[in-house]
Symmetry: C2
Subunit: 314 residues, 2 copies
Amino acid sequence: MTLADIEDLPDNGLIVPAAMMGAPTVMLEKIPSGQEVKTAVKRLEQSVQREAVAIMTIEAGGINSLIPLAVAAELALPIIDGDTMGRAFPELQMTSLHVHGLSATPMVIVDEKGNNMVIEAIDNPWTERLARTATIAMGGSAIIALYPLTVQQAKCSIIRGTVSKALAIGKLLKHPAIDPQNKLTILNQGYNAHCLFTGKVVDVIRHSTDGFARGTMSAVSLASGQDVLRVEFQNENLLAMLNGTIVASVPDLICILDTETLQPITTEGLTYGQRIVVLSLPADPIWHTAKGLETVGPRYFGYDFDHISLRGPL
Amino acid sequence: MTLADIEDLPDNGLIVPAAMMGAPTVMLEKIPSGQEVKTAVKRLEQSVQREAVAIMTIEAGGINSLIPLAVAAELALPIIDGDTMGRAFPELQMTSLHVHGLSATPMVIVDEKGNNMVIEAIDNPWTERLARTATIAMGGSAIIALYPLTVQQAKCSIIRGTVSKALAIGKLLKHPAIDPQNKLTILNQGYNAHCLFTGKVVDVIRHSTDGFARGTMSAVSLASGQDVLRVEFQNENLLAMLNGTIVASVPDLICILDTETLQPITTEGLTYGQRIVVLSLPADPIWHTAKGLETVGPRYFGYDFDHISLRGPL
């Protein structure tokens, strides 16, 4: 695979983002055929009557970090060093491309059985609505290619460097000679990551509904035996409350790691008894703009409060 | 408008059927923009990269008898004298084209807001499933263009003469010099229509759910004051029971007419107090084949009985 800097590609070249849509809990059981991503990219190329010069990841999180890498390798295309969220969000209008006024359509949605659809919608929330119901009809997860854009458009609208940033953090977390506590210190100094909580998962309520994995995780501090952290999620973590007080929320990142290995635990992997450390990291600045908060702020997700600044280490 | 005999069109010409999909109860309130049908036909032409030589009606019933006429007039194309059901059925795989192995896709679905989708599915039941959920997401009704086919394919697979038959019946029912009883006699002699029941609607249970108008109508005989006819429907009438005994069912036609005017009353128009005459007519022979009954027989609709032959006049 070739990681491409957006500056090195021709301005009028076509970039095709690809991703999984739906509940990651479903994809654990409904196995892909392996053809879907390539079909989705090819069908989108056909729809805009151009060939892609590069593939891009929509979101840096979970399986959607890797699906674009796989199809880029298969099609022998470079992958853009960047994404459209600087993290992961659950809905497809929650992208920097949307904030910059770009359309998610024409969009292709493909299932593992061989069904596909090309959607053209009047705006990105409608695209989300139509694609979400299609995803549910296809069994709860599907593969999508969307937001076809030129390199020139991408230069003004993507979040750059996400893939190399993820690679650097991955290398740090896997480094055999640095102990977990020092790794957390480096994450704090290098990426402004704050430790919200350390403890044990005591409860996970999870339901795969409306094409999402929604739920709540509760953890108890092993140090105090009393403090309780609750994290609410919709595919991604939305909100962290410590003893009932909000300590972090969308659009900022709430990351749950295994205390020993510091490997991330995604929402579909949470289970009783896990020892976890919970970090918050500030979102890309685009999400703290008025349009950013309107798109992914707490109120969009149904919470009755404005975005709060992240607290420092507790 | 020009009514075209299929024999008069070039064999390789493209025919585009167009229709409304969803619950007719919804369309009474969700007003079309007027552009949808033309958009659907044009989008389907674009998808198969050919221009249509004629428009066809999918089903001879309710609004779907007239939508294709309107778009044919708008596009200055002839309308085929035929349809794909010889009546109306509620799901889009319930066509003679399906029985003959033709694909419903590529299929276009368009809403009044300007959203559209092109569906390509692995089989016609999957097309129905994907299009039905899209229809629900679009608000419960939408406009579709589907089953693109050549004149040659149509020659072997459509039900011919439906439009001229409907015109002839319409002329008879509106004839000012023939009284209703004589009209019913002519319908019996000319079209094998049997009168199942005459009475008053005493109850209508109707719910618009899953993209359909489903429900049950009950009527009491005014002659005996005791006999009860119950008709169950899913957009179209499925089953008629007289005092609990099945007297007609899919695939045969169950038609409810106003006793005075003999105008048809569609399922969304049924209401308490109407004086009705209920007729049964035999379906086109294609629906009495094994594949026909599998597609639209009582068991497909969840009833635990095999198709019964129509009874004669009671």
